[in-house]
């Protein structure tokens, strides 16, 4: 699967990463090499093979639905880029 510059810009938008034209060009070159490596997989017949997402045969452990943590809002917000009145500040989203 060959990529072009528009593909790189579309992927970058999906990933929420700004890329300049120059970066897109460089990325195109390097990503194409990596995708070439990945393409080796297509030669393998995987019909009927169950995908392996976890290395152990385990099921997700659940805990009791009870509060176990204390509120540490101030501590966590002390490292935030911008907060006010206990809320995180971002640019206006709704007009």
């Amino acid at each position: 699967m060959a990529l072009n510059l528009d593909d790189i810009k579309r992927i970058a938008h999906l990933a929420r990463i700004e890329v300049s034209d120059h970066e897109a060009q460089e990325t195109l070159h390097k990503l194409s090499g990596i995708l070439g490596l990945i393409e080796q997989m297509q030669a393998v017949d995987t019909t009927g093979i169950t995908p392996m997402s976890h290395s152990q045969d385990v099921t997700q452990r659940l805990r009791e639905d009870v509060v176990t943590k204390t509120n540490q809002r101030e501590l966590f917000q002390s490292i935030a880029p911008a907060t006010q009145d206990g809320l995180y500040l971002v640019p206006k989203v709704i007009e």
Partner: protein, 493 residues
């Protein structure tokens, strides 16, 4: 003192021959002298470090000491440590002060170990040479022109240059074993789920695993006794009874302590791509194991060559999801100028992430995007099962698998930075172990001479069956009883 084992240091501390404060200061002085060149540590906090050393001395005086109480360790900067700057070597987290401790950090705190500082690494653990760090590359103590390997390169250099008694690392595709091989020390990647990932900054969650990096198998066993164990805060942590990883070590003496041990040699690990010098060292090490009583079995891991393509689908896919949390809202870097929310995200992430991290996020986003999921992500998970099944089949015929940990000795800085594919091939012998979730370790097995005539370390990889770490450490220890490669230090530092 700086070349002493953890056990020796523990004995010296217990007998009050030295205090933890003295020992810690010795390391801090050595760090002040060597770290500006080697760049192994990215964050130091002498006040915190010495406070821990004083507390450890108080514990020792009160008769409340364990084997690691008072011992100065280096912590990879991927582990959140409360009150410590925790950066994952990224501009994104340049000013992040962790509000909590990772499980591994709290385990070492409880054991009374001293945190010497946070070590440099490839940004978000993405790399095989420690050249992608926002804080600059790390130098290999055996040859400053060469890389220490990645991503745990700072911890690796710190252990090799004796800038700590031992260190922690993490291994997603080989990031403990490959630098262990390139820097000449013992590093263990445990079975997936054996060490909690709580508070370890996530790269590829189904592969990431923390482990010890130390001078010897015995030191790694002592570290494992602290690191391993169930933690309910990590939903993938395996609930097993605590083990004593040192329990079998004392039996590894005498003529043939490994009599009857079956060592599998996968033919794929000795094929094209392996440097002749490395192959020679590995063959000599295997012959030594035969002298120790082990039997050699020829095995095959037929899908090993697919492990790199599979990894470079699965790891970036998981990374693209894990790194979506860095959006400039709650913590981390936020761009100075933007007009709307989308621009804030896009600029913050463009400025905060380095080139390799961006590349992997883009690959991950691509393979998970509409229309490509089945062809890439699902296909990779299916082949992952084939790779894991190869090991299940192999372990029917052998107890441990041996081979090289890396295809060559340490390469020169800059040699592979412009060719990601060449860099990715560095992990040819380590990645499959992560995909299968098995434990693997690298122990020093000898040296190969570089073109400039410098002796560079070579690591022997030992792969074990699930949760067979104790036996692997025995196997490593037996070899270290009859060889001295693990005691060698780089000259002149």
């Amino acid at each position: 003192m700086i070349n002493s084992s953890l056990k020796q240091l523990g004995q010296q501390l217990a007998s009050k021959q030295i205090s933890s404060v003295e020992l810690t200061q010795a390391y801090l002085q050595r760090m002040a002298q060597l770290n500006p060149t080697i760049n192994a540590y990215v964050t130091l906090d002498e006040e915190k470090t010495l406070a821990q050393a004083k507390a450890a001395d108080a514990r020792i005086a009160a008769g409340d000491a364990g084997p690691l109480t008072g011992i100065p360790l280096a912590q990879k900067d991927i582990f959140c440590a409360k009150g410590w700057r925790t950066t994952c070597s990224s501009k994104m987290l340049e000013n992040f002060i962790s509000p909590y401790d990772a499980h591994v950090i709290s385990q070492f705190d409880a054991a009374g170990a001293v945190n010497l500082g946070k070590t440099n690494m490839d940004e978000f653990a993405m790399g095989s040479s420690n050249e992608t760090s926002y804080f600059g590359g790390v130098k290999n103590p055996w040859d400053f022109d060469r890389v220490p390997g990645g991503s745990s390169g700072g911890s690796a250099a710190a252990v090799a240059a004796r800038l700590c008694a031992a260190a922690t690392g993490t291994d997603t595709g080989g990031s403990i074993r490959q630098p262990a091989s390139l820097c000449g020390f013992t590093g263990l990647k445990p079975t997936y789920g054996l060490v909690s990932r709580y508070g370890m900054i996530a790269f590829a969650s189904s592969l990431d695993q923390a482990g010890p990096m130390a001078k010897s198998a015995e030191d790694c066993a002592l570290m494992m006794n602290v690191m391993a164990g169930f933690d309910e805060r990590d939903s993938t942590s395996v609930n097993r009874e605590k083990e004593d990883y040192t329990r079998g070590l004392s039996a590894m003496t005498g003529e043939q302590p490994l009599k009857g041990l079956r060592i599998g040699l996968p033919k794929e690990y000795f094929a094209e791509g392996l440097s002749a010098d490395v192959a020679k060292v590995i063959e000599t090490a295997v012959a030594e194991y035969q002298k120790l009583g082990a039997d050699i079995v020829d095995i095959s891991l037929p899908n090993n060559n697919l492990s790199i393509p599979v990894y470079y689908v699965l790891a970036p896919a998981e990374a693209s999801s894990n790194l979506s949390r860095y959006d400039g809202v709650r913590y981390g870097h936020r761009a100075a100028e933007y007009d709307d929310l989308m621009e804030m995200y896009m600029k913050s992430r463009a400025e905060g992430f380095g080139a390799e991290v961006k590349r992997r996020i883009l690959i991950g986003t691509y393979v998970l995007s509409a229309g490509y999921y089945d062809a890439y992500y699902l296909k990779a998970q299916q082949i992952r099962r084939l790779i894991a099944q190869d090991f299940v089949e192999a372990f029917k015929h052998c107890d441990v698998i041996m081979g090289p940990a890396a295809p060559s000795t340490a390469f020169k800085a800059g040699e592979k930075t412009n060719d990601p594919v060449a860099m990715y091939l560095e992990d040819l012998y380590t990645i499959a172990v992560n995909l299968a979730g098995l434990p693997g370790m690298s122990i020093p097995a000898g040296f190969a001479t570089s073109t400039e005539g410098k002796a560079l370390p070579v690591g022997l990889q030992i792969i074990g069956n699930y949760f067979d770490e104790a036996r692997m450490l025995d196997v490593g220890h037996a070899y270290q009883q009859v060889t001295d490669w693990h005691t060698r230090m780089p000259e002149g530092i």
